[in-house]
Symmetry: D2
Subunit: 306 residues, 4 copies
C-alpha cells in the first residue's frame, strides 16, 4: 500500500476539519499553540516511516504519557496492580469523581486521570524519590524514541497551579488509602510526565513496541511480555478515549490513546504505530481532526482489528 499517497489524500481532505473544535483551555499554557496545525506519522515494524504536516513539531503529550507509565507499572507489579486500578471503561468524563467515590477510591482504568495518578503513585513507591521516578519514566520513553525528550516547564507550572481537580481526585483516593505517597509528590511527577513534549514522529516510533508484542522492533529490547502488550492494547481500545472510547472503536477500529494536547496514537497490531496531531478538541476532549484523520486512514486502508 502506498502510505505516503494516503497521507497526502488525508491531508487534503482534512483541511475543512481543522477549523472545528476548541484548543484545550483548562490550563493557560496549553492554549499557546497554533490551533490549525496538523501532522500525521506512520511507522511500520520494518522501520519504514511516512509523515506529513508539522510532524517534527513538539507538542504536550498529556494523557498519551499514561500508556508509557502504565506499561512500566504493569511490568513491575503485574497482577498486583489490578487491585489498585481496574481495566473497565468508566462511561464517564476523564476527570469525574462520582464513580471514584462509589467505587471506594479504585479507579476504573489507568487511562482516566485517577487511574494514571495511581499508576504514577506505584512508580514512585518503586523508584523511591520524585527525581528517580521521573528519570525512570523519561528514560523509558527516551529509549523507545531514540531521542532525548523533556518536559515543558511552563506547562508543568501551569498544571501545578490549576490542577485542583486532579488534587481532588488524589485526595479522595488518599482518603481510601489508594495513594501511598504524599499527594503533592505523586502529583508533581504526574504533571511532569503529562507535560512531556514530543513530536508526531517521536510518538509513532515510541509506540511501535505495542504493535510488536512488547518488543522494540529495532533494538529488540523487551518492554513488556507479549500477553501484557496485548492487554495494554485492549485497554487502549476500551478506555483510550474517555467516554468516547466506544465511538473511536466503532469508527476507527484500532487501539488508540488521545491527549488533550491534541495528539492521538493508534496501533495496528503486528504492522505499525500511528500518531496524529491537531490541537482543536471535540466536546469529549479528543482531537477533532485527529479522530477524523484516523477514520479516513482506516477507511482507505481497510486496516482494522475487527
Amino acid at each position: 500500500m502506498n502510505y505516503q499517497t494516503i497521507l497526502e489524500e488525508i491531508y487534503e481532505q482534512i483541511q475543512p476539519e481543522l477549523q472545528i473544535g476548541k484548543v484545550a483551555n483548562y490550563i493557560p499554557a496549553l492554549k499557546e499553540v497554533n490551533a490549525d496545525d496538523f501532522a500525521m506519522s506512520i511507522h511500520l515494524l520494518d522501520g519504514t516511516s511516512y509523515n506529513i504536516g508539522s510532524y517534527n513539531k513538539k507538542f504536550s503529550i498529556q494523557s498519551i504519557s499514561k500508556v508509557f507509565t502504565f506499561s512500566m507499572a504493569l511490568e513491575i507489579y503485574s497482577k498486583k496492580l489490578y487491585k489498585r486500578v481496574w481495566h473497565e471503561p468508566s462511561g464517564n468524563p476523564f476527570n469525574s469523581l462520582v464513580q471514584l467515590e462509589y467505587e471506594k477510591g479504585i479507579p476504573r482504568n489507568p487511562f482516566i486521570n485517577a487511574g494514571a495518578i495511581v499508576t504514577t503513585d506505584t512508580l514512585l513507591s518503586h523508584y523511591k524519590t520524585e527525581d528517580k521516578t521521573f528519570e525512570a519514566i523519561n528514560n523509558f520513553i527516551n529509549r523507545l524514541c531514540k531521542e532525548k525528550i523533556d518536559f515543558d516547564e511552563k506547562i508543568y507550572n501551569s498544571e501545578l497551579k490549576h490542577g485542583f481537580r486532579n488534587q481532588a481526585l488524589a485526595s479522595l483516593m488518599k482518603s481510601f488509602n489508594n495513594i501511598k505517597n504524599p499527594i503533592n509528590k505523586t502529583l508533581n511527577i504526574y504533571f511532569k510526565h503529562c507535560s512531556l513534549m514530543m513530536s508526531c514522529e517521536q510518538l509513532a516510533t515510541s509506540m511501535l513496541y505495542l504493535a510488536n508484542h512488547g518488543i522494540d522492533p529495532k533494538t529488540k529490547e523487551i518492554y513488556l511480555n507479549s500477553s501484557r502488550a496485548k492487554r495494554v492494547n485492549s485497554l487502549m481500545l476500551t478506555c483510550g478515549h474517555y467516554d468516547a472510547s466506544g465511538d473511536f472503536a466503532f469508527h476507527v477500529g484500532l487501539p488508540g490513546k488521545s491527549g488533550v494536547g491534541g495528539g492521538i496514537v493508534a496501533i495496528v497490531p503486528k504492522k505499525m504505530a500511528i500518531c496524529v496531531y491537531s490541537p482543536r478538541l471535540n466536546s469529549k476532549g479528543n482531537s477533532h481532526a485527529g479522530t477524523k484523520a484516523l477514520e479516513l486512514f482506516t477507511s482507505k486502508t481497510k486496516l482494522s482489528i475487527f
Copy 2:
C-alpha cells in the same frame, strides 16, 4: 493448530470451575437447567468445526440474540439508528435506569437491555406487526444456522410475567419518545427473541458472518456490509459483557457477547467463530466457566485481535 486437542485440554482444565457461580434466577424458567453443563464449539471459515461437551444441547440464548437484531437493524437503518441508540460502553449493569434517565432515554449501546429494546422497536416499525417482526428475526437466524430454531414458550411466559425491570426501561424510554410502538408489543418480541433456544454448535455457525466481513462463508449470502460487520465486532468488544466488557477484552482479547442463559459467543476476525456454554454466572451476569474457557483458549492459541 490442533483445535480438537485444545478443546480437550480446556475441557479437562475447566472441570473445577464448573461448580463456581450461580445459575440465573431472575426468572424461574431459567433455573431449570443442568447447572454443571459445559460445551464449546469452534467453527472455522473453511467449514471445519470442533466441538466438545453438550454441544448439541439447546439453551436459552438470551442477550446473544441482541447481536442478530442489531445486525438486522443496522442493515435496515444504517446511521439513522445511531440517533436512537449509541455505541458507547455504559460502565453500568445491564439493566440500569440511572444512565438512561440522565441521557434522556437514549441507551448507551444496543447490547444493554434498553438498547436492545430500542433495536427491537425499530424492527417492529419496519416489519409492522409483532408476528412479521418475530418471523423476520427467526428467519435471519435460521438462514445463518441452517437449521430451524424456535423459542421456549415457558421461558417466554416467565419473562413476560417477571419482566418489570424491562418494562420500567421501556416506559422510561417511551416517556422520552424513544419507543415508537406500544410498549407491550415491543416487549413481546424482545422477550421472544431472548427466549430462542440454540445449541453451541448452532450459535458458532450462526456467528461466522461476523468473522467474515458480514458474509456467510458457506452460502456467500451478505448479511452486513464489511464496514458494518466490523462495527458490530467493535461493539461486542467494548460493550458485549455489560460492566465486565473491559475485563473480557483484557483477559480474552476477542469480540464477544454473553447471555444470562450461560452462553458466550466470540469472534476471531477472518478466522473463526466460537461458542461456549456453562450456565453458572459470575457476579456480573456472565458465564463463569465460559469466560475462563475462552481465556484458556486464547492463551493456548495466542489468538487475539491485539
Copy 3:
C-alpha cells in the same frame, strides 16, 4: 391581624409575578387553564375565612392529593408504612428513577411520585378494589371539605395516556416487589386522585385538620392522631416541594405541599390553613406566584414555625 387587608396587599403586589413561569405541559389537558389566574384562601381554626381572586374556581389538585392519601395510609398502617416508603428529602426532582434504583425500590418519601404510588398501592390493598379505593379517598376529602368533589375525566385520560414516567417508576418498584397490586390498577387510582378538581377555598378548609392535631375543627372528627398529624406536617416541610423543599422552608417557613396544577397548601400549626393558586410554575415545578404570595404572607404576618 386584618387578614383581608393582607390578602388585598398581596393581590396587588403579586400582579407582576403572574406573567412569570410556565403552565405545566407534560399532559395536554393541564394546559387548558387561564395562565394568569390567581387565588388565595385563609381558613382559621375558629371558622373565619378570608379569600381573594378566583378562590371558587376549581383546578387540578395534582400532588396535593398526596397529603390526603398519605394521611389515610398512615392512619391505617402506622409504622408498618415506613418499610415501604421513607420520610427523607430526596434532593432530586419529583419523578427521578435514579435514587429509586440505588435504594432498591423504596421511595424516599410519600410526596414524590414514587412514594405516592406506593401509598396508593397500600390503600388498594386495604380497600381491595379500584372503585372502593377511589371512593374511600374521595369520601375522605369530601368529609374534610364538606362539599362534593370529583375528578376531571379529561385530565385523568390525559394522565393515563402520557404517564410513561410514572409507569416506569411503578414497574421499577414492582421489580423490587414494592408494588403489591397490578401496576395498572394502582396507577389508575393514582391518576384519578391527582385529577381531582378543587377550589382554593375547598383546599384551605380541607387542610385544617393538619393545623389542629389531626382533628377537624368544625366537626371534631379525628382524621389522624396528634403525633401523626405532626409527622405529616414535618414531611410537608422537608419534602413538600420536591427539590425546592429547603428553599420553601427557608423563605416561607411553613409546612406546605404544591401540585403541578398550580396549587400550594400551607399550614400554620394551631392557627390556620392556607391555599394559594396560580398555574404558572417555576423551574422546580412549583407555582411561581403562589410561592411568592406565601413569602409575602409570612413576611407581613411574621407567622412562621421557626
Copy 4:
C-alpha cells in the same frame, strides 16, 4: 412543666441505648472519649436551666460549629452568600462529592462539610488572616456562652492529618472557583472550629439566640436579625442531620444540628435551646442515644414546631 423530672426520666429510660452505636473513628483523637457518657441540658429564655449527666464535660463540637459560622457569614454577606452555598437538603451523606460535581462546586447547604468549608472561606475573605478569622469565630461563641472556650490541639492535628476527604471537597470546589483563599488556609480554620471543645451546658446557652429571633435573651445583643434567625432554624430542620434530617424532623420535630463528636443541639422557638451528648453514633453519623433522648423529650413535653 417540671423539666428536671423529665430529664431524670429520660436519663433512666436512655440507659439501654447507651451501648448502641459506634464512636466516630475517622480520626484517631475522636476515639478517646468515654463511649458510655450521656448529658443533657435545657436552657430556657427566662434564664432557668436544667441539666443531667456529665453536662459540664467538654467534648468536640465538630459540625455544631457550622451553625455559628453560618450565622456569622449570613449576617456579613446576607443574600450574596446564597450564590456560593444553597439551602436545600442534599439527600446524601455529609461528605459526598457526587452532588458537588454535578452541581458545579456549589454545595447544597451550609451544614454539609462542603458548605461549611465555603462558609469558612467567606469568613476568611472577610477577616483577611487565619488568626483573625479564627479569633472572630471564637469571640462569637465566647460571647454567646459567656465563658472562654478553646480548640483541642490533638483533635485539630488529627483532623489535619486525616482530612483527605475534606481536602478533596475543597479542591473540587476550588476547581469551580468556589473557594477564594488557598485551600490549606481555609481548611486550617475549618478544622480548628470543628475541634472546639464545649460542654452540653455551654452549647445549650450558646444556642439561645436562635430560640429568640437572633437576640441573646440575657445580654440583648443582636446576633442575627429576626428573619435570618428563622432561616438558620429552617436550615437546621431540613439539613441539620445530613441524610437523616427528614427522620429527625419526623421523629423529633425540632430544628437541630448534630456533630460526629456526639453532640446534638435543638431549638424550641420562643422557648428554649437544648443540648444532648452521647458519643456513640448511628449509621448516619448522628448520636444514637442523643437522638432517642430528644424523641423522648418531645413525646413527654409535646413540644414540636408542627
